[in-house]
């Protein structure tokens, strides 16, 4: 496999210098994050922050304009019965649906993110992937979520993977690029770390765990490893890179654990939707229910929150 006629300015990093990762140690650190007790005002603050970090997502073969319109409506009107709610960060759809989302969200400060590059498998030619990217960019997407070539990565073709990311970054122009590692296919935390380093050096604005189409999707373990890679990259280059866990985060409780992990690994600068996102669909309602419970003291029912 080779990449033709694309000039890159970034250099492929030496992956042999990337530190090893100890799985048992990672599990223990994660357990410690999960034992934090987030209560009262800090819980409300966290829940609101989580809402503002959500990329409301629909990526199904059976998506229709109607479905995308309804999801975008949900993004604008999370729960009108509760005033002063932050809005979600973005709506995430397939390239074909970008125009529909853009139309519905016109005038609202909510981004349209599009997957691209033969999502979710990435099993196509570079040309097709770049066309896919340009189609989404031309339709007005604010953000592109690409997938890396996992097969090539597992076969050790790191230069290929690097060049591909750099090429997609170039096709994005000013549009910000999230690089999906598909951690569930990488197999080990060591590989997750190395893929993260590769993606950042190739120009990723965000690194993202998963497509959400296979199990396992996001886990706290892979997220921690990626956050630690972001920290090392920041120390090395001074450039901040964002992070997005996607898939499998459907409860507010779990999302709060992620925020604790983010807070204690990268600190305050990353605690905004500009640098951290949750790729989720049903998470929003659970967060709304928790917010309601915090203010009323009463446990809530799903019947009272719209399912779009």
């Amino acid at each position: 496999m080779s990449v033709t006629a694309i000039k890159t300015t970034s250099r492929i990093p030496d992956l042999s210098t990337v530190p090893a990762v100890d799985e048992v140690g990672v599990n223990e650190r994660v357990a410690r994050f999960q034992s934090r007790s987030i209560k009262s005002s800090s819980k409300v603050e966290a829940l609101k922050l989580i809402l503002s970090m959500i990329d409301l997502t629909t990526l199904e073969g059976m998506d229709t304009p109607g479905k995308v319109r309804q999801l975008s409506q949900k993004a604008i009107h999370l729960h009108d019965a509760m005033p002063n709610l932050p809005h979600v960060a973005a709506v995430c759809v397939y390239p074909m649906m970008v125009p529909v989302a853009k139309e519905t969200l016109k005038g609202h400060d909510i981004n349209v993110a599009s997957v691209a590059t033969a999502f979710p498998s990435g099993m196509s030619s570079l040309q097709v992937k770049l066309d896919d990217t340009r189609m989404a960019v031309d339709a007005g997407a604010n953000e592109i979520d690409m997938v890396i070539s996992r097969g090539a990565f597992l076969a050790g073709e790191f230069a290929y993977v690097f060049d591909e990311i750099a090429a997609v970054k170039e096709a994005c122009g000013d549009v910000h690029l999230k690089v999906i590692l598909e951690t569930g296919e990488l197999g080990t935390l060591d590989r997750v770390r190395r893929a993260s380093v590769l993606a950042m050096h190739a120009g990723a604005d965000f690194i993202k765990t998963s497509t959400g189409k296979i199990q396992p999707a996001a886990t706290m373990q892979v997220t921690l490893v990626m956050l630690q890679a972001i920290k090392d990259y920041y120390y090395e280059t001074g450039r901040m890179v964002g992070m997005k866990p996607a898939g499998g985060i459907s409860t507010a409780k779990l999302a709060v654990h992620y925020l604790v992990m983010l807070r204690e690994t990268l600190g305050n600068a990353w605690m905004t939707p500009e640098w951290f996102r949750f790729g989720a669909s049903s998470l929003a309602n659970d967060v709304l229910m928790q917010l309601r419970k915090q203010s009323t003291g009463i446990y809530q029912s799903a019947d009272y929150f719209s399912q779009d």
Partner: protein, 492 residues
Amino acid sequence: MATPENKLAFDGGWEYAAAPESTDHIKVKKRYGLFIDGNFIAPEKGRYFDTINPANEEKLSRVAMASQLDVDKAVKAARKAYAGPWSRMKPKERGKYIYRIARIMQERAREFAAIESLDGGKPIRESRDVDVPLASAHFFYYAGWADKLEYAFPGRTAKALGVAGQVIPWNFPLLMAAWKIAPALACGNTVVLKPAETTPLTAMKLAEVIADAGLPGGVVNIITGAGDTGSALVTHPDVDKVAFTGSTNVGRIIQRALAGSNKKYTLELGGKAANIIFADAAIDQAVEGIVNGIFFNQGHVCCAGSRLFVQESVADEVVQKLKDRMETLIVGDPMDKNTDIGAINSRMQLEKIESYLEIGQQEGGTMHQSSCSVPDAGYWCRPTIFTGVSQSNRVVQEEIFGPVLAIQTFRTYSEAMSKANNTPYGLSGGVWTDKGSKIFKMTQGLRAGVVWANTFNKFDPTSPFGGYKESGVGREGGLHGLDAYTKLGAKK
């Protein structure tokens, strides 16, 4: 590396609200007597002393000061129980009593955890997640050995020793009580145990559990007191076996006092463990290992990783990451579920630690502490590291028993090994490397009773614990922990 331009910001922003552990479900009496022969009774001389909460210096309760007469009474009760019901009981029935203790401890786990933190200062998260579960697990493990001793010693028959006199420290009060009582009972002995002066309460609650479990009176006796009580207990002529966990200095005194007697003894004493990080370690997890090694339980741990050796090529990176991590450690009210580092156990211990901080700086070391706030009342020490120190510094040689880490660099594995072993202590050690063969080379060469590879401060009832050299004699936990409480005779 971090520069002023790319430092990470850990203060301010989203902070955790108070998450207090509730105490409305726990019961602490205003005053406790001595637990002798199955009942709480008044001390002969009628003297009591206060036990306080080191986080706010408030009185929690009063406990009895056992005099020589009380010690005599307790040993007599233990002897009577040993000669009577306990030796006559079938081993499997003895085991069932020990299982009962374990089960009741599990049922009362939350109460035990809360009282442990109130009395001793350790974070509730640690008492809840580490101390109490390990303590009940220890009873579970040894309960199972009671009727299985014939398998533990090939070619030998194991018999009980008789009456065990046990003195335990204040850093893991309930866990140390479990480590002493469970194996002693499983092997058929009876016990007189003295908890530490500053942390008697969970021992009193354990006495209540033992009474509720229906254990025959005198099998376990728990007597509170101070140094004199302990001294009277370990030198008592009718005690067959002495078990002590505490400082090397006191251990030395005890060993001397027992010279010429026939008493068997085990001593689990101090340490100054080396925690060694190689350049090929999983660095982020190694940093977490440093934190677990020295800041767990406020560093009040005999096996704490208090001397860090980091391979020179990664030293800056490790220290930077350590400093970042220290910024996220929360020092505060032990009863807050988010507290990472609780109160120092007593004023005396805090003064000792602070004197070492002075000494370290006077010796030319560079001291760095995290920037967190600490409460006004109570005894507190922020997590501290010293760089620019070496083997000859007192802060590197002497056990500080606080959240204070001395950091040195090394170039080769043999340098690390010889510096790690260059100490009169030999309790524990840590090795961090991704290379398996190097792990085994290091663990083979370290002169310490417990070696942790790519982890630290891990305990399990099945895993033997104890030291080489001046860190003590004997092992607790596991199959090897049975040695301390048995005498071996020829196979029948």
